[in-house]
Symmetry: C3
Subunit: 140 residues, 3 copies
């Protein structure tokens, strides 16, 4: 079994959905030593998340932000956890709806993604620092 | 470490939630060579997804479709990504809410699912072709 | 490759979101034999789920319960699967929104979580028994 792992800190991103596929790939060139396996990308935070979605038209990412703001609104009357700002509790909920990690199959030394798939950093806070990722590739 | 991987194309499914546990199991009989490990099923698309839920009463799957259509409506006034049809942008959002992959433990050569758990293909488009899956089983 | 797996039954929890990080860690002390790898926690049920979120202020978990009850209401007029009680169909939908498993990187014999991250059991039923988990740690 081969297992490679890197930990990085992204540059800060503004609130919204951002393509980071290239950052992930550049971080772990050892991926090409794995014939069959899995890549995991994990985010070490509870107010940002990761997902896989369309890598082309940027309006898809804009619409994600619009819809998540509607589906998980700020200042809901039932929120009790409010002392970190109106964007904080929605950020926690959005983070769990999307998830803290993605897992992608590796085939012949490459990510086996569909042609339209990219990796999104989902930044749910208004003013966050650079987020930390743990990137692990394993297989044979 | 053992690692087996297959890529298949499902037959087209109509919009909705569909049980595909048997298709997955039939694709990767090598599963029975793994005593302890994990199975990953990954979908190579951004407008369909995978989840695990109840494998018995079909009205559970009908209610999933009804609720996701309510929670992620078509023609929301804030959508900008509209040129691929009214079902397209909701499909992208639903896909990320449910996720592009599932991971299931393998125990003694079998999927270690609960008795009521099955694998769902979640087809979010009105007229999609057969979706491609990458199925990877690894362990010892 | 090392691969350790345990199956446990949690004590019953009331409806809501509960921190179970310590239970998971105590179940699989063999984690410290893995230098680089992944831990998976899988729940064998379709009306409870797992997620990773803030491990400090309990009002975060209270607000999760409030928001999920709003986003996936009981007694929606379009539910057909109603014979198991008004909390049943919402429980299935919440379970798929959050997911049946979490995957966390292992680094130097420990879970590589962010400082604020903990593992939540998400109990979506009013009166459920103890939930079964399969905990798998693998790596080198």
């Amino acid at each position: 079994m081969k297992c490679f792992q890197k930990e990085i800190q992204l540059k800060p991103h503004k609130r919204g959905f951002h393509l980071i596929t290239d950052v992930v790939l550049n971080t772990i060139p050892e991926l090409n030593e794995i014939k069959t396996g899995q890549l995991q990308v994990f985010i070490k935070h509870t107010s940002a998340s990761l997902t896989i979605n369309e890598n082309a038209d940027y309006t898809v990412r804009t619409d994600f932000e619009s819809h998540f703001n509607k589906m998980v609104p700020e200042n809901a009357p039932y929120y009790q956890h409010t002392y970190e700002g109106s964007d904080d509790m929605p950020a926690h909920i959005k983070a769990s709806l999307l998830g803290a990690s993605i897992q992608i199959p590796i085939t012949n030394g490459k990510l086996n993604l569909g042609i339209w798939q990219g990796i999104y950093l989902c930044e749910h806070r208004n003013h966050a620092g650079g987020r930390k990722l743990v990137i692990t590739a394993f297989g044979i």
